[in-house]
């Protein structure tokens, strides 16, 4: 959480820095030859690279053991990787127009790419250098390698800022054969997997923070250089290949793991992300604010638990196969969604927010009360349904280790593969529905419901559809979650608690990630899960930081980390003041609104 917030503030800080220094840069740029900048970058990055083979401190007290000479470890790996990247990124900047064959690296100009990468390296390396002094008590813990690492990373940044701006419109991509495109997509996705794997398996908070800083700034640099745009154009042109690549990468993650330690983290992220995606259909696509969404996850989990032969269940003798559990779980969730949605979706959106919030609370209370004391014994009350048996699907027992392709899959590994399948299904549904008659109807309702209805869109029906679909997908995730955690308790499904998923975290994953997009909630959910998981010192402050992050995000980047094109326009509408044009042109341009506004007022007056 905090990293994401510090990330976003860091970003604006960086933007501020960029604009502030633009004038300075121009002045310097006239004096200093661009070659000076490039030399500094090369020198700095090379020295930083070299420093990773030196010791950075003489004590093993700093996590990751940075005392070894000749063999980079811990945070040094990040510095090593970023230094190499920076050196590579110099290639398109070396001669005007770029070294032949490297121009693709910076479609919009290489200066921004270099600045981003140099900054990423400096932030990540600088953070370690400072952390060494901070945690171990002073610069006495520095050795030569520390000084070299810190100074050279800074040198590279200095060099990057001496470079003149060379932003330009990206040249059109050269036509490449289909097979080459597919290869590129696969390679990039696999690289992405390695980066993600590194992040998920970071062993201590310093490494994770270094990773986040590096990845964040580097990502910004790549985006600014136009590489991301080019890659997303590539994926858009090769949807099936991208889908296969991502699926393959996701599956191979589990084969990179030697134990279940990080697979369980990945399982939790997947559950969280799946539900966040479901919520994104409701919030992002249909524009309905659901504050009790986690309850639908709970409905699915409880329903599945009740019919799977759970020991503590009233219906312990009912043991249905999983496909039946899933069907029932989804059906009950959809039903709950329709029951809540039907009366409220006719009203304006704010009511829905509160009613869903209330529903979340009611769900928790009801599950608590069906304990034999305050109501019939169904759910075992606050203690919850425990002893939910492991999943069994086509004779495959998810509780036992299986050897697949010579790799032993543990319990969490089994669930991981199933969850990848589920999230793939959710992504598939999300993408297809978004790009269809239904998706267009949702967008239209979000933009102007009255106009949408006048065009024949049955607003209520489509809102109800979104609400029911969202509830069903959450319910589906819930049916698996119950088996995975083997216990479901009412307190797992509250509005806010320190552990995701809960309604507030889900909403945050969507909002911070990017409403209406697929990758946004995935990124948001990963960050929101990993940050508290990796950074133990946040433990009791994460809800606070997370609340602050929501406020800051709405102020600075309301469209989220991965913005949807349309959303971005929506949120920055007023800045371009175009919407006012619509409104005001009525008030004035037409010098005679047929009095309809006045009539509305009158109508109100007459009723009062």
């Amino acid at each position: 959480m905090t990293t994401s917030s510090s990330l976003s503030t860091g970003q604006t800080g960086a933007t501020g820095l960029t604009s502030l220094s633009r004038a300075t840069r121009r002045r310097l740029g006239q004096g200093a030859h661009p070659l000076v900048g490039k030399c500094l970058i090369a020198l700095g990055s090379a020295a930083a690279l070299g420093s990773t083979f030196l010791a950075w401190t003489w004590t093993t007290a700093f996590p990751g053991d940075l005392t070894v000479t000749g063999y980079p470890g811990g945070n040094q790996l990040i510095t090593l990787f970023l230094s190499i990247l920076t050196l590579l990124a110099l290639a398109p900047a070396l001669v005007p127009g770029g070294l032949p064959g490297t121009r693709w690296m910076a479609p919009r100009g290489s200066a921004r790419l270099l600045r981003g990468l140099a900054l990423a390296n400096a932030a990540s390396t600088g953070y370690v250098v400072i952390a060494i002094a901070w945690e171990l008590g002073g610069v006495a813990n520095y050795v030569a390698g520390t000084w070299i690492a810190g100074a050279s990373a800074l040198l590279a940044v200095l060099g990057a800022w001496l470079l003149p701006d060379d932003d330009h419109e990206p040249a059109p991509a050269r036509p490449t054969p289909r097979w080459a495109q597919v290869v590129v997509v696969f390679v990039v996705v696999m690289l992405g997997l390695l980066v993600a794997d590194f992040g998920v398996t970071t062993g201590f908070s310093e490494e994770f923070i270094g990773f986040c800083l590096g990845a964040g700034f580097a990502g910004r640099g790549l985006a600014a250089s136009g590489l991301f745009d080019r890659f997303s154009a590539l994926t858009a042109a090769n949807r099936t290949a991208t889908g296969c690549a991502v699926l393959a990468a996701a599956v191979s993650f589990v084969f990179l793991q030697s134990s279940d330690a990080y697979t369980s983290v990945a399982d939790n992220i997947l559950i969280f992300a799946t539900v966040a995606l479901g919520l994104n259909i409701v919030v992002g696509l249909a524009g309905l604010l659901d504050l009790g969404y986690v309850a639908f996850l709970g409905v699915g989990a409880y329903t599945a638990a009740l019919v799977s032969g759970t020991a503590a269940s009233r219906y312990a003798h009912v043991v249905l196969p999983f496909w039946a559990q899933a069907l029932i779980g989804v059906a009950v969730s959809v039903l709950a969604g329709l029951l809540i949605g039907a009366p409220t979706l006719r009203l304006r959106g704010d009511y829905l927010a509160i009613v869903t919030l209330g529903f979340g609370e009611i769900f928790r209370i009801t599950m608590n009360n069906l304990d034999g004391q305050s109501g019939p014994q169904v759910t075992n009350g606050a203690e919850g349904e425990y002893g939910i048996p492991d999943l069994r699907l086509f004779g495959y027992d998810f509780g036992r280790p299986h050897t697949v392709l010579g790799h032993t899959l543990g319990r969490f590994g089994n669930y991981y593969l199933l969850l990848v399948l589920v999230i793939a299904v959710v992504i598939f549904i999300f993408a297809r529905v978004d790009d269809s008659r239904i998706g267009r109807a949702w967008a239209a309702i979000r933009e102007d419901e009255t106009a949408a209805e006048a065009m024949g869109v049955h607003g209520y029906r489509f809102k109800l559809l979104a609400f029911g679909l969202g509830a069903g997908l959450a319910g589906l995730a819930g049916t698996i979650q119950g088996h995975l955690t083997s216990t479901v308790t009412p307190d797992q499904y509250t509005f806010s608690s320190s552990a995701p998923p809960n309604s507030a975290f889900l909403l945050a994953a969507v909002v911070l990630g990017g409403m209406g997009t697929i990758s946004g909630p995935l990124l948001g959910a990963s960050l929101l899960f990993l940050i508290p998981d990796k950074l133990q010192f946040f433990h009791n402050k994460q809800l606070l930081l997370f609340g602050i992050a929501l406020i800051v995000m709405m102020r600075l980047r309301p469209e989220g980390l991965v913005p949807d094109k349309r959303r971005r326009l929506e949120f920055h509408e007023r800045e371009t003041a175009a919407e006012e044009a619509y409104e005001e042109l009525v008030a004035d341009g037409l010098d005679g609104a047929d009095g309809s506004d006045g009539l509305d007022e009158l109508e109100a007056g007459a009723r009062a």
Binding site: I354, D448, K541, P558, E601
Partner: protein, 317 residues
């Protein structure tokens, strides 16, 4: 079921409803002026309680005063803290988003609500060394309850009802009779034309936030006195209920908020009380009170979405 029991339920419901009503006013006033569900209002209520407690616990001597003498000081403390928090939130969090799409301020409000809860839970310290992670004790009236023909009226109940009545009368006077009150109504009805009258809408919005916060602080005091404790997370359910009350009464309507509060309080007490009274349904009583309150909200939205004192439900897209 005897009349006395029924009357006792009615008494409980009225008192509870008076408290809901006091909080609901804040929702209604803010909604009426800027169409924002101030999700953090429950936390403003909670902060009011802690403000009052701070005066009691930390200002030397206050704890030794007779409670009735200490109450005005505590009330002042609560009101100051709640109003400061609400006005600060308006200024720093909401105002910059005034032109943003509706979702932005609403999400901000959610963030604010979580952050405020956590600030209290993490950093509030009692003189004795306790913290506010769990409910903390609040002074309460000693002494026996008044017995009115079998109906027990606790001292705190009396205080609640009187406080609510005074506040509502003062509010009614403020809105209907004072220049600022009229200006606030004007801003709610037509902000642009209000500006043409020389009214600064920003000021009026601040007034709406402040008045709502002050009444929420009064409500928090009554809550503390009745239950003998307050907690950092009490704003969540109270806020939810109060919002329900505001919708019941017709959101945007100040008198409706009080009426809605009382209807909700009565419904909650009567439904759970009557259910608890009979053996067959006893188990669906107290533990389900929140559920019945919520069912009522759904019913009202279904049958009369504009609320009991129907202000218009603005559904223009």
């Amino acid at each position: 079921m005897s009349v006395t029991v029924l009357l006792q339920l009615v008494e409980n419901g009225l008192v509870l409803g008076a408290m809901y009503g006091l909080i609901a006013v804040g929702y209604t006033m803010v909604y009426g002026t800027i169409q924002l569900i101030n999700f953090a209002h429950g936390e403003i209520f909670m902060l009011g309680g802690f403000g009052a407690l701070t005066v009691y616990a930390w200002i030397p001597g206050v704890a030794h005063l007779p409670l009735l003498a200490a109450l005005p000081l505590m009330l002042l403390g609560g009101v100051v803290v709640a109003v400061a928090a609400a006005v600060g939130a308006e200024r720093l969090a909401y105002r910059p988003l005034r032109a943003a799409p509706r979702l932005a301020p609403l999400i901000t409000a959610i963030g604010l609500s979580l952050a405020l809860q956590q600030v209290v839970s993490l950093w509030y310290r009692l003189p004795g060394g306790g913290n506010a992670k769990a409910p903390v004790a609040f002074p309460s009236f000693g002494g026996k309850a008044f017995n009115l023909g079998g109906v027990l009226v606790q001292r705190a109940d009396l205080f609640t009802v009187i406080a609510a009545a005074v506040c509502m009368a003062a509010l009614a006077w403020f809105v209907a009779r004072t220049r600022s009150g009229r200006a606030m109504q004007a801003t709610a009805q037509d902000p642009d034309t209000a500006r043409l009258m020389g009214i600064d809408p920003d000021r009026m919005i601040v007034v709406a936030f402040a008045v709502g916060a002050a009444l929420a602080a009064v409500a928090a005091l009554t809550q503390g006195l009745r239950y003998g404790q307050i907690s950092f997370d009490m704003g969540f359910v109270a806020g939810l209920k109060a919002f329900t009350a505001a919708v019941l009464g017709g959101i945007g309507n100040v008198r409706g908020a009080m009426l809605g509060g009382i209807v909700l309080g009565l419904a909650e007490e009567l439904s759970s009380g009557i259910l608890a009274h009979f053996r067959d349904t006893a188990q669906y009583g107290q533990a389900w009170a929140d559920v019945w309150a919520f069912v009522l909200l759904i019913l009202v939205l279904l049958l009369r979405p504009q609320g009991l004192l129907g202000e218009r439900v603005a559904d223009r897209a």
